[in-house]
């Protein structure tokens, strides 16, 4: 029998004693909410009135024609409030926090999308809010930092370790163990100690629930494949969950191949052979680590995929062969982004563009009668600095230099 909080041998709650009671309470509130149909109704209502749910499923006709294979459909999580799937999880946890009667929320963020969503939720519900973000990510996702601060959140730039997502998570845990009585840690992805993986996946299941109805209505049949990028795995769990037991639907998770899997500069845990089982950040999963169990540095052009661990639920699905894992390199991602903008007028986040890369590779070999769904986890506006840099855009550079000069003169 599988132990509570485990998915096969993955998951668990490896937490310091000071959090024991808090996790017990969180478990209780979560299981109450899960068994209360009114809670889900309340959640659906918030998501449809405050966010933009249901998000559309867009038939990418030009891309489909371009590749000449399967019909490509895009699930538009970019149209969610704050521009990513992160809002689904955050608004759900916000409702739980209200039930728990806590007044302060903290969160970690990589790409800044989860921090944005949390700051937004905190503003709406009137919670104090602190966001932990690795210094490297603060530098590459400056626009999100600006918005978080404007919404009243305190953004703490974490200068330890690799100064990316995992270090932000460690720092958020340090805050939590100090302030457990008043504070809820809004975990951003389907990772961390139980019940977070299950809870985050539950809130994200709204994506797949909508997608199945939409594809049946628009295409008349189930999709043959679904693609989602995988950082921690929350958007993937969201869109995959509803289809796990649907026959004939293949689920494909796309990890960050960075500069290439063989360069060591990537964040591919389930695809490739660089990861091994480990226990860190409160749970057991596949981690990128050395033989001593020390976590390795990761790399991706997309801050939100740049993480050493992965959802324990995905580790289990990977082990059982229920999800196929692939990776996309930074260069492929920029190319797919370029094509998607030109052909469809849609700007995927760099994270989401990983899923597009794999779909583009596979679509041509499929029949035009078949449909594939790409889960577009977020929109690319936040990545404007990174994307402009990658495109080496001369007029953008000129603009930045001009602005810099103006600011330095006005000092």
């Amino acid at each position: 029998m599988v132990k509570k909080g485990y998915f096969g041998s993955w998951g668990g709650a490896f937490i310091p004693e000071v959090l024991h009671q808090t996790f017990k309470e969180l478990e209780e509130y979560f299981s109450q909410a899960k068994n209360d149909p009114q809670f889900w109704q309340e959640y659906l209502k918030v998501m449809s009135t405050y966010s933009c749910r249901p998000t559309p499923l867009t038939h990418a006709e030009n891309l489909s024609r371009h590749f000449g294979g399967a019909q490509i459909y895009i699930k538009r999580e970019d149209l969610n409030h704050t521009g990513a799937h992160k809002a689904n999880n955050v608004m759900g946890q916000g409702l739980l926090v209200k039930r728990m009667g806590k007044k302060r929320v903290i969160a970690e963020t990589g790409a800044g999308q989860h921090g944005m969503a949390t700051a937004t939720m905190a503003a709406k519900y009137g919670f104090d809010c602190t966001i932990y973000m690795g210094e490297v990510d603060v530098l590459r996702q400056r626009p999100n930092v600006f918005w978080m601060e404007k919404m009243g959140a305190t953004v703490v730039s974490v200068k330890d370790g690799s100064r990316t997502l995992k270090d932000a998570i460690n720092e958020a845990f340090r805050d939590w163990v100090t302030n457990v009585d008043t504070t809820h840690y809004v975990f951003g992805t389907a990772c961390g100690p139980a019940p977070f993986p299950e809870m985050v996946s539950w809130f994200q299941s709204i994506v797949g629930n909508e997608a199945i109805e939409q594809i049946l209505a628009q295409h008349g049949r189930k999709p043959v494949r679904i693609y989602a990028c995988v950082g921690g795995g929350s958007n993937a769990m969201g869109v995959f969950g509803r289809f796990l037991d649907e026959e004939g639907v293949e689920l494909v998770g796309v990890e960050a191949g960075g500069r290439g899997i063989d360069t060591g500069k990537h964040a591919a845990r389930l695809c490739g052979s660089d990861a091994s089982p480990g226990v860190a950040q409160g749970y057991r999963t596949m981690f990128l680590q050395n033989d001593d169990g020390q976590m390795l540095e990761t790399h991706s052009v997309a801050a939100g995929l740049d993480y050493v661990g992965v959802s324990p639920i995905l580790s289990d699905l990977w082990e059982r062969g229920k999800v196929r894992f692939e990776s996309a390199t930074d260069a492929e991602v920029i190319e797919a982004l370029d094509l998607t903008m030109k052909k469809e007028g849609i700007i995927p986040a760099l994270e989401s563009a990983h899923a597009f890369v794999q779909a583009f590779k596979e679509a041509p070999a499929l029949s035009p009668d078949d449909a594939v769904i790409i889960n577009m986890s977020g929109r690319g506006d936040k990545d404007i600095f990174t994307i402009a840099h990658a495109f080496d855009d001369p007029s953008w550079k000129k603009f930045i230099i001009q602005r810099g000069l103006e600011y330095s003169k006005s000092k």
Binding site: G12, A13, F14, I15, P16, E17, V18, L19, H20, Q21, T22, D160, G161, K166, N170, F173, R174, V177, T178, N179, V180, D181, S276, G278, V279, A280, Q281, G282, F287, Q289, D291, D292, G293, Q294, M295
Partner: protein, 255 residues
Amino acid sequence: MHLEDRLINMRREKDILLMTHIVLGYPSFEANREVVRQMVENGVDCIEMQIPFSEPMADGPVIMKANLDSLKRGTEVKQCLLFGAEMARTHNIPFLYMTYYNIIFKYGEKEFIDECAASGITGLIVPDLPPEQSDGFFSYAAEQNISTILIYSPTSTDERLAELDKAGSGFIYCMARRGVTGSKSELDDTFDTYLQRCRKATAKPLAVGFGIRSREDIAALKGKADMAVIGSETIRLVDAEGAGSVGQFITDLRS
């Protein structure tokens, strides 16, 4: 002799025992060697040696930095175990390892415990391994006469304290407050009430740590706890004044 009995015997001679903490490989193994020597010569009763981990979740800035710096210098688990064995051979006080579970998991639980037993290490503190998450770790350690020290927190309910008492061995480590290692703890009335709850829940020796750093702190713990734990403070001291300053600091703590 089992760690618990050893501590009880030592406690008969002193009104409070002292446990100190070092991070292996920080600032260097040579410095560790000198620091341990000074600690033992000046009356420290027990030493926890932290095997560094890249994600020291329960540690504050001082110990975290020491972990990361040690790893940056190339410290490996094998070197830590060799050093620990050397200390246990050289000095006649109990030595423990403190580390996070992944280090032990990657090494192999049984292999790690066997290695501790063979090299005279008496106990283990693993802050991210609650007993309910472990299958065979606690029982195998007990078979090999290695104590597994569990932690009490001010947030633990009475029921939980009793549960932890049953699962652990050697002594109980009481966190003086919520939070991570390093910042100052107030040893006030709330703390006393909490410590009384701890005392009631276990017959094992009680160690108190987290923010204990001065002679006043130690004095305040006498009669209430069996052992005081000095963690971040000696690391700060070695950073500021070098390994040579530790001896005097330790002597002053109990005078």
